[in-house]
Amino acid sequence: MTVPRPATRKKIKDKDFELIQAINSGQFDRFPDLVKRYEQKLYNFSLRMCRDAADAEDAVQETFLNVFRYLKNFRYETKFKNWLYRVTASTCIKKWRKSKFAPERELSLDEFFPQDETEVPDQVPKWALLPLDKLLNDELLDKINEAIFTLPEKYRLVIVLRDIEGFNTAETAQILNLSDANVKVRLHRARLFLRDKLKGYFENE
């Protein structure tokens, strides 16, 4: 009788695979290449999470130092990028918990659904009809960033990962250790929250 071998997971060979293998085989001078590859992405992700530039810098530095320490434990069971964002997100979450004690605000669907007839729209507003390039300008981009900052953190994490960083639902769920269903619920509420902020901005313009 043959003893079944334990199932071994297939290694994910993404664009970082060779570089990580080189670093883990002792070529530590290649680590700055990995930093260069992700520094800007992680800086901007952390900035959107922490808002404060100094906190974002701390989060990025802490992330890379942890990655340097624990890279040898990386098993290629996920894309390296996803693992990296997982470390960064958890660093940012720890920062919030240290700086705040207030419970997070929950967003409910009811607050975004038109409750009475006066709120029910009867035509598509201009801002949703104009070609994107006719609408976009620095002021609007600032407004969107501002609106993202006002989202409670757990919703902000999801919308930034999904709609700005471009991760899909399953990847976002893996990064944040949530179920797919939970990611979808948070994403929808976050988008509705931002839509209301944008609506307010365009109505007052």
Binding site: Y43, E57, Q61, E117, L135, N145
Partner: protein, 88 residues
């Protein structure tokens, strides 16, 4: 359907699924249900269009460059890290 006939129950049911619809994460039956509904329901059509535009705008946000001082500081911090033995 005009705004006075806005059927809250059905609208609310579809309202919950609009993001999944935009992300192509809904089954065919639910997609057809939404498409049929928004043909007649102006408020829900407006809701879908404004939500879609919100997502499109979010995707347009740009990344800031990393401050040079920080880049330098990070490089130094990494250089000062004790080197681990290679993974086995």
């Amino acid at each position: 359907m005009n705004k006075n006939e806005h059927d809250h129950k059905h609208c609310l049911e579809l309202f919950q699924k609009l993001s999944e619809y935009l992300d192509n994460e809904l089954d065919e039956v639910s997609c057809k249900d939404i498409e049929k509904h928004i043909k007649d329901c102006v408020p829900c059509f407006v809701c879908l269009q404004t939500l879609k535009r919100t997502v499109d705008l979010c995707k347009q946000t740009e990344d800031r460059p990393v401050p040079e001082d920080f880049s330098k500081k990070l490089k130094e911090a990494i250089q000062n890290m004790p080197k681990m033995p290679p993974a086995g």
